[in-house]
């Protein structure tokens, strides 16, 4: 009789005296701790270095909070830095966040819901299309977007950076798709739709009163991830010659790299806070429904 090696192993493990098992558990725990520490170091050393860089002048070695003061007072003259470009970039990036998220939601949520109900095959096709931007390097994307934007800015809209939103919707699509798909797969959309339809609900009511409330978490996470992507976007804006936060940071970095680094840190922090908030909100929402 063939012995399944896996079960055989398990049987031996179960027969081990408890001390041996305790030792193995402890070893596992130590291993986990080491991996976690290394990962955190890998992530935080660059951040810590950035922080250090903003408060200690690289040439003179002098410690000073001047770059942070400049950002929070909005006055960079003492450092010889012109912060107007920074405000301009920040403004357009924030506006882009809002516009991109709105377009993304209006475009993707209804489409994905309808496709999810109607056709599994089409859903897979859309998944494939939505994932494409992830596999195409931004620089290749720009080669295609260049002529379109030349035409857009000359004949349709203006050179205002807010029109980058169309390109950004494409960029955030893979992430947004994932988040929304997770939500759709976690509820039985078809059954809920049919139940509400047969109870007399019109399509808009089904959508806003039944589907959206159940997708709330996914919509939130899709939005937050999109915001994070838009705030961090540099290549497309830069190559298309539009101003956004990252482009501004780069330009500022040419004249005052300390202020630029401080601002980058802030943007990063903002992203982290968003994601933590997302996590907290979804946990709170879950417990409020499951708890007493």
């Amino acid at each position: 009789m063939a012995v399944n090696p896996e079960t055989a192993h398990r049987t031996v493990g179960a027969a081990n005296p408890p001390q041996l098992r305790a030792i193995r558990l402890r070893r596992q725990r130590i291993f986990k701790a080491i991996v976690l520490t290394l990962t955190l170091l890998f992530l935080f050393i660059p951040l810590a270095s950035m922080l250090l860089f903003t408060v200690r002048h690289p040439l003179s070695g002098q410690w000073s909070l001047a770059p942070w003061q400049a950002i929070f007072t909005g006055n960079g003259e003492s450092l010889g830095a012109d912060l107007t470009v920074l405000w301009e970039g920040l403004g357009s990036s924030l506006l882009l966040c809002v516009v991109t998220v709105v377009i993304m939601l209006v475009l993707m949520v209804p489409t994905m819901v309808i496709v999810h109900i109607r056709s599994r095959r089409l859903e897979r096709a859309i998944e494939w299309v939505a994932t494409l931007p992830l596999t195409i390097p931004a620089i290749v994307l720009v080669v295609g977007l260049g002529p379109i934007y030349r035409w857009l800015s000359a004949d349709v809209f203006s050179t205002d950076p807010v029109w980058l939103c169309f390109a950004y919707v494409v960029l955030v699509m893979p992430f947004a798709f994932r988040s929304i798909a997770v939500g759709l797969n976690s509820i039985d959309v078809k059954t809920l739709v049919e139940a509400s339809r047969s109870l007399g609900a019109s399509w808009p009511r089904v959508f806003f009163r039944v589907i959206i409330p159940n997708l709330w978490q996914s919509i939130l996470s899709a939005s937050f991830i999109s915001i994070a992507v838009v705030l961090g976007e540099y290549t497309v804006a830069s190559l298309l010659g539009r101003m956004n936060l990252q482009v501004a940071l780069y330009q500022l970095g040419q004249s005052n790299s300390q202020v630029s680094t401080a601002m980058s840190l802030l943007a990063l922090m903002f992203g982290v806070i968003l994601l933590v908030a997302l996590d907290l909100i979804s946990t709170a929402m879950r417990t409020s429904k499951e708890g007493k």
């Binding site: 509820i187 039985d188 059954t191 809920l192 049919e194 139940a195 509400s196 339809r197 047969s198 109870l199 007399g200 609900a201 019109s202 009511r205 039944v210 409330p213 159940n214 709330w216 429904k289 499951e290």
Partner: protein
């Protein structure tokens, strides 16, 4: 008898009159009058409905016809894939149909969208809205209809009381058992006072005890509220327990629709006879109205086949069993007892016919005969291996 019942009775009488007496001469106008009378009764009628799913090889509904009287509970019974759910969904408007029409109270609703049909459905899949409490779920249909908050809360509480769940009003889906969820779904469906309540195997996902309990409760509530109901199931016991009439479905159409008793005693086809209850397939000679089975004359049901050697479908309780040594009758066939099942007041005895002749008729398989009799009539000393004589009683049977 309520007014609605009377109207329905009149409608039915006039319909059978026209069908029987005038047959083909019935005019379009008479048909219209007839439909009008069904309308006042508020009945449901599905006529010549065809449904073909995109890419499917055969029709899911094939010339499907169904008439439901107001306040009636019709069960659609059939094996998996025979089109029960499709029929229900077509009636609800959840599936479009390729041919035929659907009338509610005489009005053609074939083109009416789901949300305007005023039919409520409870499906096998748990369908409560997870972001709402039980009470909010029940209120949903009333909210859709623009009812004031206080009023709809009152009605919703009333329906929750009907299903015995007032204490669960504030609970969310995840905090309720499967049975409780289906009760809430039932309350939610009843809250809108639907023209028809559609139940698509609402009990399939529940465990046996809850299933029986809830099934009886559904019937009680249905009778109490007088709601016209279509109940779909593949479980014959469930069907027999709740139905006014059972429609046995096969290959996308109803093979026979009748009261449970009639269906059992007067099956129209072999499929129906074998689907409901146990039945023995015994060899016999038939002249179309009478058959001779094991030397015994058996009256035949309408639609029976004619021929020197046909299969006669005989119920286990329509057979007698006598120990061979005490047998004095010259009818019957010798058999050997295989198993004896005690079912409380009844006993079921499985036997195998001894004669090799019938084994050949049965395609080489041993011909097994199941006899059911009251425990008090079980011959004393009967044991496994006993030699007995089995013979049919003169109870109407179907020859196929």
């Amino acid at each position: 008898m309520t007014l609605a019942d009377q109207k329905a009775a009149v409608a039915e009488a006039s319909e059978s009159f026209i069908d029987n007496e005038l047959g083909a001469t019935v005019t379009e106008a008479a048909q219209a009058v007839l439909e009008d009378s069904t309308e006042r009764g508020g009945g449901i009628r599905m006529q010549h409905v065809d449904k073909i799913y995109p890419g499917a090889a055969s029709k899911a509904l094939d010339d499907f016809n169904l008439d439901i009287k107001p306040g009636e509970m019709v069960v659609l019974l059939g094996g998996s894939g025979c089109g029960k759910s499709t029929a229900l969904r077509a009636l609800a408007g959840l599936e479009d149909i390729q041919a035929g029409r659907i009338l509610v109270g005489g009005q053609d609703v074939t083109a009416t969208p789901v949300n305007k049909r005023n039919m409520a459905m409870v499906s096998q899949a748990y369908s409560l809205f997870p972001h709402m409490t039980a009470l909010q779920n029940v209120e949903f249909g009333l909210e859709v209809r623009g009812m004031k908050k206080a009023e709809r809360r009152r009605i919703a509480m009333e329906k929750l009381e009907l299903v015995g769940l007032t204490d669960q009003a504030g609970k969310y889906t995840q905090q309720m058992s499967g049975g409780q969820q289906q009760r809430v779904a039932l309350a939610r469906a009843l809250a809108i006072s639907p023209r028809v309540l559609l139940l698509d195997e609402p009990l399939s996902a529940l465990d046996a005890k809850v299933r029986v309990q809830l099934r009886d409760e559904i019937r009680r509530i249905q009778l109490e509220t007088g709601t016209t109901t279509v109940f779909v199931t593949h479980d014959q016991e469930e069907a027999l327990a709740v139905a006014d009439r059972i429609g046995v479905m096969n290959h996308g159409r109803i093979e026979q629709i009748a009261a449970p008793q009639d269906l059992y005693q007067r099956p129209a086809t072999e499929y129906v006879a074998t689907f409901i209850g146990l039945t023995n397939r015994l060899p016999g000679g038939s002249n179309g109205s009478e058959a001779v089975v094991f030397g015994q004359r058996v009256p035949l049901l309408e639609g029976s086949k004619q021929g020197p050697l046909v299969a006669v479908l005989v119920r286990p309780e329509a057979l007698t069993l006598t120990p061979a040594e005490t047998n004095t009758s010259n009818v019957g066939e010798h058999a050997r007892v295989e198993t004896i099942h005690f079912l409380g007041a009844l006993v079921r005895v499985d036997t195998v016919i001894s004669s090799g002749e019938w084994q050949r008729w049965n395609g080489g398989e041993q011909l097994r005969v199941t006899v059911q009799l009251p425990a008090s009539e079980l011959p004393a000393g009967l044991a496994i291996g006993s030699d007995v004589v089995v013979a049919p009683r003169a109870v109407p049977a179907l020859a196929v």
